[in-house]
Amino acid sequence: MSQLLAVMFDGVAFGMLLFLISVGLSVTLGMMNFTNLAHGAFAMVGGYVTFALASLAGWPFLATLPVAFLATMAIAAVFERLLFRYIYETGELNQVLFTIGFVFTASATAAYVFGTVHQSVDMPAVLTGFIELGEIKLPSYRLFLVAIALVITVGVVYGLEHTRFGAMVRASVDNQKVARGLGLNVNRIFALTFALGSGLAGLGGALAIEVLGLDPSFGFHILVLVLIVVALGGLGSVWGSFVAALCLGVFDVGGKYFVPELGSFLIYLFMVALLFFRPQGLFGKR
């Protein structure tokens, strides 16, 4: 029983991590229909920011996290202005080709600067042990992941549901043309959302080092999971991404633990089954 709970909790923590990395893509995809396969590369950027600061410059791990968020956000904003904004109107094939090319470039750059080895960072003592709740021993890092993801989820939901900027984002997702025609600068709203979403991915990438490790192919590996979350959750739906990421995390971890012979196939079966009945995703509108 306690083992089941521990595995479930592990899955929840993994799901939270996936949510952090995916939520930005869900919103920007829903808003501009911009097929951005480079989203995972920004998660990798955040990972390497934390790695560089913690392992090379000797910063404490926790202090690197806000920097991973802000630096990824800034880098994403620059690339949005320099590159991505020119391909919004060019069709999905161009977007897919361009952004996957961007992941290759980012990956090669990371390999050049940091080498191809698997990197890790030193965790502070407070995050390395276990916390015992009666019979259940929960790894403190997983608890930390869940806590930080919940705080950010509340922040994202509050920002989207209760601020004027959030209403602008939702209006632009609902009907981009009408939003423009009523005076909303959708391109600027999108650029900001893109930067914020990439920043969250960067933070997720930093937090993922301890769980998934970090190497230059991170942007590719995470992409599969990110796309599953977005497809299952439905485009533009924050709650959809949250639920989908949670299910995915629990299914993946639980599946690998309890049915190891099926291993990582389980999540794909789950995805196929769900999309068969709900092709627009859990909370998707299209």
Binding site: A171, K177, G181
Partner: protein
């Protein structure tokens, strides 16, 4: 005479490869009100979308208060005071009534409180989402939402389409009120020719992308021959 609020000079425009509008010349002066009539698919909506900047302009120019806005993007035109009320209402379905209003608000005398005065029904439903409203309520919201941008020109694209007669009457009064008391200039694209001509001072009829008839609205109302020929509605009875 003062310069026109909006003026189109030799405008040809369309979508992608097809040109829908041909050589349109129009002057709309402040407070005048223009009814744009014509059968379905003759380019009435394209005219509105061209003023907003959604179409591909092939030639010609558009001036707003004497300033060239031909190259401005839709959101910049809206910010200049051109208030667009899209066809089929298109309220933001996931936003509440209140959010629909506030999200596009610009400073001016028209506030959410004022919109609720004009449309008391919206005040009752302010916490409902756009998708939960009836057709008539959605149209009220679409109009109220555009009013929140404090425009000096209202472009209404078939605002009464598909609504029940009683709602049409109520909305017609609100629209007339806006052009009368609020001093807004209307450009009204409408199938209900009779109603549209009541609310405006000038009228044009569009046929296959060209303006084929211009007349004061009152005159056109009495000119059943012309209306029958271009619109084919029996307004006789």
């Amino acid at each position: 005479m003062a310069e026109p609020l909006l003026s189109l000079r030799g405008v040809s425009a369309g979508y992608a490869e097809s040109v829908v509008l041909n050589d349109i010349n129009l002057d709309i002066s402040e407070g005048s009100g223009l009814a744009v009539l014509g059968r379905n698919g003759v380019g009435k909506s394209t005219l509105i979308e061209t003023v907003m900047g959604f179409t591909r302009l092939v030639s010609g120019s558009i001036h707003w208060r004497g300033r060239d806005i031909t190259r401005l993007k839709p959101h910049q035109r809206a910010a200049q005071g051109i208030g667009w009320i899209p066809q089929e209402r298109c309220v933001f379905p996931t936003l509440t009534v209140e959010e629909n209003l506030n999200v596009v608000a610009r400073p001016g005398s028209l506030t959410a409180a004022r919109v609720y005065e004009i449309f008391p029904r919206l005040a009752e439903r302010r916490q409902n989402r756009g998708s939960q409203l009836s057709g008539g309520e959605q149209q009220m919201l679409a109009i109220g939402r555009t009013l929140m941008t404090n425009p000096s020109l209202l472009l209404l694209d078939e605002p009464l389409e598909g609504l029940a007669p009683i709602v049409i009457e109520e909305l017609g009064q609100s629209i007339a009120h806006m052009s009368g008391d609020e001093g807004m200039t209307l450009v009204l694209v409408e199938q209900h020719a009779e109603l549209a001509l009541e609310m405006t001072r000038e009228a044009v009829i569009i046929e296959r992308g060209r303006i084929v008839h211009r007349a004061p609205a009152a005159e056109l109302r009495a000119d059943h021959d012309t209306l029958d020929r271009y619109i084919g509605l029996n307004l006789g009875e």
